[in-house]
């Protein structure tokens, strides 16, 4: 029999080929710790205090893009969901649905990326699952990661704490991830300068916790639907609104030029390594200074303020006018994460 270099249905069947795939590709990378004996579930040490639990499935198309692939996206996405919920991510699960015929060399690339980014984020892959479906029953590979974190004491997060005058801060350029995916998908040549922002925001959250926990009111990573969707969700069912200042919103030159060319509003485009923060205005410039000295926050800006206009997100335009920032009904960019 010649060497098998693509995924076969039998790799997911529970027999010898499944076993070989798990041992060669999973245990070789993640086999230290609870995964070692391949139990049905990982036994984890006691966590003192509340837990944070989050899940996301990743179906990004294409599965490789400038700045990474579905692997680091799947680590960062769940790490960030836990982080902005006020937790320190500790453990991840890794469940893959792979299409028959997927090259094993590509699977290795993805798993290497997962290993590297999990190490960087200081989270452990402790349990997993691999399913294989026939050709045409998924598109290359889909990955689910779920994560358990340890809730940080001291944060008191929630829409109810937000009040007019609070500052809205974003940690860096908006929309680079979504635009990088679009560029990869459509084969748009941008001299490779547009890189997905996929990254962990954990250190940004940690820095807030150490210095400004009491003044932080809301954190969220603006993924699907972008900054516009998150801000509209925040103001819904409240007595306040948010006004952005268009000249303050950070965009990369590369994302802007593609967005302009295609008529896309970057406020609706996903980031995968940025966070939105609403905090008491008295500490806003201190937080900005703190973040600007960290690699993950060097592009941070105060992009707007909470006002008294109920449930309304607006933006001051360059010419001094104002317009509403709405959430699109339809689908702008499917499968960006």
């Amino acid at each position: 029999m010649s060497k098998i270099d693509t995924i076969q249905l039998a790799h997911g069947g529970g027999g010898r080929l499944s076993d070989a795939l798990i041992r060669d590709e999973i245990l070789s990378r993640f086999g230290e710790g609870p995964l070692k004996s391949l139990p049905d579930g990982a036994t984890l040490p006691k966590i003192d205090g509340e837990l944070v639990f989050s899940t996301d499935s990743y179906v990004v198309k294409p599965y490789k893009f400038n700045g990474g692939n579905i692997g680091n996206l799947a680590v960062h996405g769940t790490v960030n969901d836990i982080s902005v919920s006020g937790g320190i991510p500790r453990y991840l699960s890794l469940a893959m649905i792979i299409e028959e015929g997927f090259p094993i060399s590509e699977l290795r690339l993805i798993l290497d990326t997962i290993k590297t980014s999990a190490d960087e984020c200081d989270v452990k892959i402790v349990t997993g699952d691999t399913k294989v479906v026939a050709r045409g029953q998924c598109d290359s590979i889909y990955i689910n990661t779920s994560g358990i974190g340890e809730k940080l004491k001291g944060f008191d997060l929630g829409k109810h704490r937000i009040k007019p005058g609070d500052a809205v801060i974003v940690s860096g350029n908006i929309g680079d991830h979504g635009m990088a995916i679009l560029a990869a998908r459509e084969g748009i040549n941008i001299d490779n300068n547009l890189v997905s922002d996929t990254a962990s925001v954990q250190r940004l959250v940690q820095s807030l916790h150490e210095n400004f926990a009491y003044a932080v009111k809301f954190m969220r990573d603006p993924t699907r639907g972008g900054v516009a969707a998150v801000l509209n969700e925040i103001v819904s069912d409240t007595s306040y609104g948010i006004e952005l200042d268009s000249v303050k919103i950070p965009y990369s030159r590369e994302a802007s030029s593609i967005a302009e060319m295609l008529g896309i509003e970057l406020l609706n485009v996903a980031c995968e390594g940025r966070m939105l923060l609403i905090c008491d205005n008295s500490v806003a410039s201190d937080i900005l200074n703190l973040w600007k000295n960290m690699p993950e926050g060097k592009g941070a800006e105060i992009i707007g303020y909470v006002n008294k206009e109920p449930e309304r997100v607006s933006i001051k335009t360059v010419t001094g006018g104002r317009r509403l920032v709405d959430v699109p009904t339809g689908e702008l960019l499917p499968r960006i994460c």
Copy 2:
């Protein structure tokens, strides 16, 4: 606009339609507790002691079958993985990948089933994710559940504790789930008497913990690869083997007749509501009596014993001979869970 009765790409896009789907279908069923405010991650109360963490993606085809659908399968599968790891399941995540065009009425059926079975298993759905992919990029619906459980004190589980003379017990008929899926897929008419065994084994585990924790050495639910795969995994890299007694192994009449017709070995076929147990022989008949008085264990049998033949799983045939119980290399029944 006419009423939307199938899943659209925009249901996964992060905009208004996504929001409506989550509110109408998810929050209406699971909105009590941590999911209520739709945070990125659920904050959960402190768990005293070790945690058990498990994940599985479900890609069963067809997604409906006699005895349930992908919904209760996804609850039971993860509940069982936590249970046989010696944990009490507490919290589940629910991540769905849905194909564009999937009927919303079918989604409701699945979510109702998830709600019912989660309630029955006393686990809470606390966090989730919904992705939509275009037609032909998945097959109807795939579901991932990950779960957190509370490790029971008192169990000491592991292959290293198994020794010759120990009993091997199964909690009920083998292979009903896999055969029910096959029947549904191939349109085999079996008068609807063959029902998937999908169910929780949590109460079986709990009963062992209360009475026999010290004597329990290994627990596993025989899903993909069936009983044969689990037993071969147990004996691998050990100095012992297992001999089964073919007349003791419980099969349903319906599964047997389909298996015979198609030439399938039921020892290789998945269950989704059974457990395999290896325990000290001194308590084997007591456990059998205990289980036989529980609805989930009424079909339980002692199907074999651990012996001194290293890494070998064998079976005593009806005629008194012996043969090897091997694990198939290839894929018998793709997408049975």
